[in-house]
Amino acid sequence: MKYEEALKRLEEIVSGIEENKLDIDRIGESLKEARELIKSCRDKLYKTDEEIKKILETED
């Protein structure tokens, strides 16, 4: 998932919880998804993505 999309989905979940739109029984599930999204976003900020490195190292 692209960073922008991940952030957008995260916003949906957070505001869903904030505005009591999410079913209480599904909060655990949403929380899990949100944590995964946060982790993947953090990884993109702070961890080296070997795939990108490889793509950029290829010469034209």
Binding site: L10, I27, L31, A34, I38, K47, D60
Partner: protein
């Protein structure tokens, strides 16, 4: 008609010139040739063209002698940020000289850099007006820099100090953000800049999906020679570029046309890196903020649910009390009904007993005694027949008001 030798003729031309034009004058011209010599002099060729720029209207040689050149060159560069070069419009203070052998030439005594600055500004303005007319001037600025601008295409010369600064700045960022930099080398000085930069831009554009932004940087050169970035062709390429373009080719005083059409312009390569780091910082802040909100939202939601349950729990005792009172009343009612039921039953029985009592009242011995009868007892037993008594028996006669002892005789 007199006949002169060539020397005499040239001598006369020289003295006429000296007589007619004894003082230096300011002349506007375009440099069409520039040859600094090993001795420290500089030979120039000056021209004036017609408005189309294709036809020469005038031409002259101009010499800058060493003493003047040593002062004039750094002064001009400091003022304009440019070195003198072919194609540049200049305003020179010249004296007109004529040499019998070398002919007509100008001797440069001074230069007015403000004229050149003005001319460069005019050229920039003209290019910008053209880009505006063509509707492309704001195109690159309309692109959005992605939230995560970490795949960076760089156009620079590989050896430029500025490129090294840029890389170091990015890789050493204190937050630990990861950047991926790919260099597309180009010449950033000299005649070839325009062609070379455009070729590099085309190479980046061919791989546009691999990158988030394009950064064009230079720096580290002695004199910047910015005017190559006042180029219509570079500008139109930047304006139409599919990725946001960040320029760090800057100048303290003026923006080049490339800067003006770029998405973002900064002054130095280091500042370009700083801009990208700041952008990542914003992105990271949004994420951290979202993480905080998520935590708050979940605990807030849980708290709301807890309070709901608590409210219900608090209501239970009072609800119970209501139920209890109702049941107590029911029980009391039942009791009362039972009590009155029993009472009624007793009353009925009593009534029956009273009636029965009345019925048996006639048989009461006391009443019989009161009517004048007595009851006779002997040895504690009622005497019902005279034959039960013998002589000498002691009998007791029971009257209503007492007893009398008698003896049978």
């Amino acid at each position: 008609m007199e006949t002169l030798t060539l020397l005499e003729l040239n001598g006369r031309v020289r003295s006429t010139l000296q007589h007619e034009m004894p003082d230096p004058c300011w002349v506007q011209a375009e440099i069409s040739g520039l040859n600094p010599t090993g001795q420290g002099h500089c030979y120039m060729e000056l021209v004036e063209k017609d408005p189309s720029g294709r036809t020469f209207l005038a031409k002259a040689k101009a010499n800058v002698w060493r003493t003047v050149w040593l002062r004039l060159k750094p002064y001009f560069e400091a003022q304009t940020g440019e070195s003198l070069k072919v194609g540049m419009k200049v305003l020179l203070l010249v004296s007109v000289t004529f040499h019998e052998v070398y002919g007509y030439s100008l001797t440069v005594q001074d230069i007015d850099p403000t004229y050149t600055i003005g001319d460069m500004a005019r050229r920039r303005r003209e290019i910008l007006e053209r880009l505006e007319r063509e509707g492309v001037i704001g195109l690159n600025r309309e692109l959005e820099i992605p939230l995560l601008p970490h795949r960076i295409a760089v156009i620079s010369s590989a050896t430029a100090a500025g490129y090294g600064d840029f890389r170091n700045q990015l890789s050493g960022n204190v937050y630990g953000y990861r950047f991926y930099v790919k260099l597309f080398p180009a010449l950033m000085q000299g005649e070839e800049v325009e062609r070379s930069v455009i070729a590099a831009m085309n190479a980046v554009a061919a791989r546009r999906d691999d990158f988030d932004v394009l950064v064009i940087i230079r720096g580290g050169g002695a004199v910047s020679e910015l005017s190559c970035f006042d180029s219509y062709d570079i500008a139109v390429n930047i304006a139409n570029f599919p990725l946001p373009v960040i320029t760090g080719i800057g100048h303290e005083r003026d923006d080049t046309v490339a800067d003006t059409v770029a998405h973002t312009k900064v002054k130095t390569p280091t500042a370009a890196a700083g801009f990208l780091i700041d952008r990542m910082f914003e992105t990271a802040s949004v994420l951290e903020n979202m993480t905080r909100r998520l935590g708050d939202a979940v605990s807030g939601r849980m708290e709301t649910e807890r309070l709901r349950i608590e409210r219900i729990a608090q209501k239970l005792p009072s609800l119970y009390a209501v139920v209890k009172v109702r049941h107590e009343q029911m029980i009391e009612n039942l009791w009362n009904r039972a009590v009155s039921g029993v009472r009624n039953m007793l009353t009925a029985h009593l009534h029956r007993l009273e009636l029965m009592e009345k019925g048996i009242g006639a048989a009461d011995p006391v009443l019989i005694l009161k009517r004048g009868y007595t009851l006779t007892r002997c040895n504690g037993h009622a005497v019902k027949s005279a034959s039960d008594l013998r002589k000498g028996d002691r009998i007791t006669s029971v009257f209503p008001d007492g007893t009398v002892e008698s003896e049978i005789i």
